[in-house]
Symmetry: C2
Subunit: 362 residues, 2 copies
Amino acid sequence: MLKIQQGSIRTPAFMPVGTLGTVKAMSPDELADMGADIILCNTYHLYLRPGHEIIRDIGGLHSFINWKGPILTDSGGFQVYSLSALRRISEEGVEFRSHIDGSLHFIGPEKAMEIQCALGSDIAMTFDECTPYPADYDYAVKSLELTTRWARMCKEYLVARKNEITEAQTPPPNLFGIIQGGMDKDLRKRSLGDLIDIGFDGYAAGGLSVGEPKEEMYDIISYIGPQMPEDKPRYLMGVGDLRDVLVAVENGFDMFDCVMPTRNARNGTLFTSKGRISIKRTEFKADPEPLDPNCGCYTCRNYSKAYLRHLFMAKEILSMRLNTMHNLYFYLDFFNKMRQAISEGRFAAFKKEWDIILEHGD
Amino acid sequence: MLKIQQGSIRTPAFMPVGTLGTVKAMSPDELADMGADIILCNTYHLYLRPGHEIIRDIGGLHSFINWKGPILTDSGGFQVYSLSALRRISEEGVEFRSHIDGSLHFIGPEKAMEIQCALGSDIAMTFDECTPYPADYDYAVKSLELTTRWARMCKEYLVARKNEITEAQTPPPNLFGIIQGGMDKDLRKRSLGDLIDIGFDGYAAGGLSVGEPKEEMYDIISYIGPQMPEDKPRYLMGVGDLRDVLVAVENGFDMFDCVMPTRNARNGTLFTSKGRISIKRTEFKADPEPLDPNCGCYTCRNYSKAYLRHLFMAKEILSMRLNTMHNLYFYLDFFNKMRQAISEGRFAAFKKEWDIILEHGD
């Protein structure tokens, strides 16, 4: 359990992704009802649209999007790396072109903090350079050193801000440091050590799930996870395949985010207690059964596979709603059951059981 | 108040349109919560996708789409006229090509009844030929005579079916006859008279809002409305501009359907107590106020115009949800207030007040 000003977060926690200030197809009430404790929003996207100042002036992101629980914002480092057409990295930060209109922008550590403070984030992330895969050793070293210097600047920015603000103002967010270092264990260890020296409210592993083979990712997860401070949240960024989550939880990670349940839902790929299915398949055309008879979500309690297939084929908006509701419920329920298993000392059995289920698919 | 097996319908009633078995972007619970007593679904669309037999085998449309209130289904006559690429009209019905895949189909009066019975409709419409605008006199006569013959066949089909079914089976639907006759008053009168001779559970004016000038439409509405039987529902098909609704209610009509509130919502045109607004306008970029401070809908209670604009510009699904919710609430609330005004004997004042409001727009 992680307690922060805005509320409690049961861990291991899954954070639905609300890129532009909305978890696609969902209302905030629906997210709360299905047990989401915290959501993630994207600094890069909200900075470009509608702009962090607009959100600040309206009263912050919680009020803007009508979400009452905690919000974690990423720093924009990953999106600058993955989305923008051109990026020029300097000691001060990154100059990049908007993926929307090509306009020129600059985000560095201070700017990333300024934006996240304006949004009123509960958990902010340090601005990092996401080391690409593959990267040679020299690049990975330089990249990690830059990430560390930026992390320090982020913390200094928030400390200075904390001393400035009056009681009436929003307190600055918690700050998590991001471990980089590519696929090199020594560099990962060095990155973590440097961050611990600076001191953060939580630690996150970044630069994973960026194209590397699963074995390499598991190698880093199982190496660095157990070394991360046990008394702080340990967040594995952007990794959300539940098989990977199981490996990560085994190694101490307790916070996750991923677009997989929401994106898959919109593409018609649905998770069930018997494996994944694609709802567009002809065999479901007249199928009166719910998607998953073992599922307690709104979709499974009220609709047949035939109706879900019909909505999907007709490209109806309700298709995206019902599918997303089901997949997110499935994820959050999985995390619920996993927490239960951990608290009852049977995580190993839980992992074994689910490893088999999660292999099933179309 | 119209009472039918499936529930009560407060009149004048507005029926949200759920073409393919879903009112676009809404869940059935949301529709019920905002006070929709009845929805309309399209026979033509559901016949093509997913097919009426599939819906029948799953337990009927109510169960398929999880809507507990009454459902009115149109007969497919209008869609065959407006959507299909090719149509060949004969005494038996209409041969047409699907607007989806070009496949060849046939719907006549019996088939239209068979489909609507399979769907489990509460109110079925007779299969009509929608007289195009403009139409010469001879065409309009022939078309109306065909529509009358088909209307009789529809009734005979249902009467025969009523005698066949056992107690365990669904009772056949109520049946409304459709008045045609183009823009010719005598033909409209003749059409109505013929239908009354056959005898229906309700009467509907079809073939309006098909391209004619408003004055011509008003002319027909104010001519035929007062002649329709007062003790039966009087349904004005496909007319939903609220200014037109006011004219129609003044002339006795008490059932309406229209895609305007839902379609406009998805295009960002929103109704307010001060007139229509387009949410995409730059002036709303940082506007912290709700869309309509006088509105009690979920959208207005929880969100700013700035957020609605942001969602619309970013093409988020939640934009379509929140906009649709607002527009439908606005419509249903308008009908609520109109019923109140009627019951308090102040409809004329209500109409005067709203005629001014409804002229306002971007």
